[in-house]
């Protein structure tokens, strides 16, 4: 692929803190290599701002290899930019041409308040996990591998749901700011395995209750979450979540005392 350099105009959301109203600031960056990642381009911009004595732009990032789920940038109307199945760090500047204008916003959802600039608070996800996204196991010796037979298909499905990195792109992309894809992935990866089975009913009830409490919207099945998910989590999981939840209310058994 041809290597080239470009000059870009960036419109970036600047917001001092959770309470202040934010605004867009326009920046010019020059001589950006097409081989840089989107975050490296931001590094160049921040270096430039520091050299000019200005405050750099705050943005979340950690692994820069597509697995940490921190880089929450909404780029030209798309969560993590226009590429399929990528996070922002995996988006490369060869997507853009010289002279392009790029608008960068934080995830926007009331359940994800802006901490500063492009950094949002995603602790609402943590609280949903705390409500039920775990299995209760007494400590003791590690169980032998393969002691518990698990059907291959269920293991694969569970693994595919467990690929969710909790980045929040699903919420960011959803017109209702719904967290159903996230919650469904977390419910699915445990519900499909025998280890998760004993608590599956109370889990789904508690996680959905917490999801509603955190102020996420409801799912209207439009599929924007699935289209933007960097890990390709399918909305099939949302169907499973709905089944699990219906199962929890239909069941009159021991876990029903919720």
């Amino acid at each position: 692929m041809e290597h080239y350099h470009m000059n870009l105009t960036l419109k970036v959301w600047k917001q001092k803190n959770k309470n202040e109203r934010g605004r867009f600031e326009t920046y010019q960056v020059k001589n950006i290599s097409s081989e840089m990642s989107f975050l490296e381009m931001f590094d160049v911009l921040n270096e430039q701002l520091i050299a000019e004595g200005k405050e750099p732009i705050a943005f979340d990032h950690d692994c820069r290899e597509g697995i940490c789920g921190m880089c929450s940038m909404y780029i030209n109307g798309r969560a993590h930019g226009p590429w399929h199945h990528t996070t922002t760090c995996q988006l490369h500047m060869r997507e853009y041409k010289d002279g392009d204008t790029i608008v960068v916003e934080p995830w926007r959802a009331n359940a994800f308040p802006v901490i500063k600039d492009l950094v949002v608070d995603r602790q609402s996800f943590d609280r949903i996990i705390q409500a039920g996204g775990y299995i209760s196991v007494n400590t003791g010796n590690a169980v032998d591998a393969n002691a518990l037979p698990i059907e291959k298909h269920a293991a694969d499905e569970s693994f595919a749901s467990a690929a969710c990195i909790g980045c929040g792109a699903c919420v960011a992309a959803c017109p209702n700011a719904s967290a159903m894809l996230f919650v469904s992935a977390k419910v699915s990866h445990l519900a499909l395995l025998p280890q998760g089975d004993p608590e599956r009913k109370i889990r789904v009830v508690n996680m959905i209750e917490q999801m509603d409490k955190e102020g996420f919207g409801s799912c209207t099945n439009i599929g924007a979450c699935e289209a933007e998910c960097p890990k390709g989590i399918s909305i099939e999981n949302i169907a499973r979540l709905n089944r699990e939840y219906l199962g929890a209310v239909l069941d009159g058994g021991s876990q029903n005392a919720i």
């Binding site: 916003e105 209702n176 999801m211 509603d212 409801s218 099939e236 169907a239 709905n242 029903n256």
Partner: protein, 222 residues
Amino acid sequence: MSWKNYFSTSVGKKLQMSLTGLFLILFLIVHCYINAQIFYNDGGERFKEAAHFMGTNAVIRTIELGLFGFLILHIVQGLMLWSKNRSKRTVKYAVSAGNATSKWYSRSMALLGTLILLFLIVHLKAFWGPNRYSQTFGAGELDLFTMMRDEFQNIVYVVIYVLGCLSLAWHLVHGFFSAFQTLGLGMNKYKGMIKTVGIAFSIIVPFIFALMPIAFYLGWIS
């Protein structure tokens, strides 16, 4: 978990939309079948017979009450969910994804639903309302066939009906699949089938409905 708690959560409210929506889909099949009797072009004989049954049978009239209940629940819950969902993102995006990640009609269910509601008001006022009024307070059943024929000589009504059917078609394209997805049946095994049947349904039923005013207007049915 109690049913009351279940139906008050976001997932439970969606199930209300799904179940009432599926009931309305069943209603559309019956309504379409009955009205399609006009295409026999027999001066409305078969249609009148069917309409008489639907308008006077005690079981049907009881189900009609349920239909209104579900219709109102579908409308009220739908609008409440729409307004609640909108409130979840107070600061809007400056640039939106548009049609890159989702279909316009799936994002416009509340708008399409409202258009259908407006159409329904016109529609009920033209046929169902006067007929039930006459049945209850006046001279018994009205001749709905003649009323249709007269009504659809007016191009304005024909256009309103065709637009109503178009709104219904787009509402159904998303609604049909969405209802099953909310019921938990959107897994890949069934997804293709549900979407195919849904699209076929969304085209065929509104098309037959739209054909009725057009047929009267163009004099295909006398």
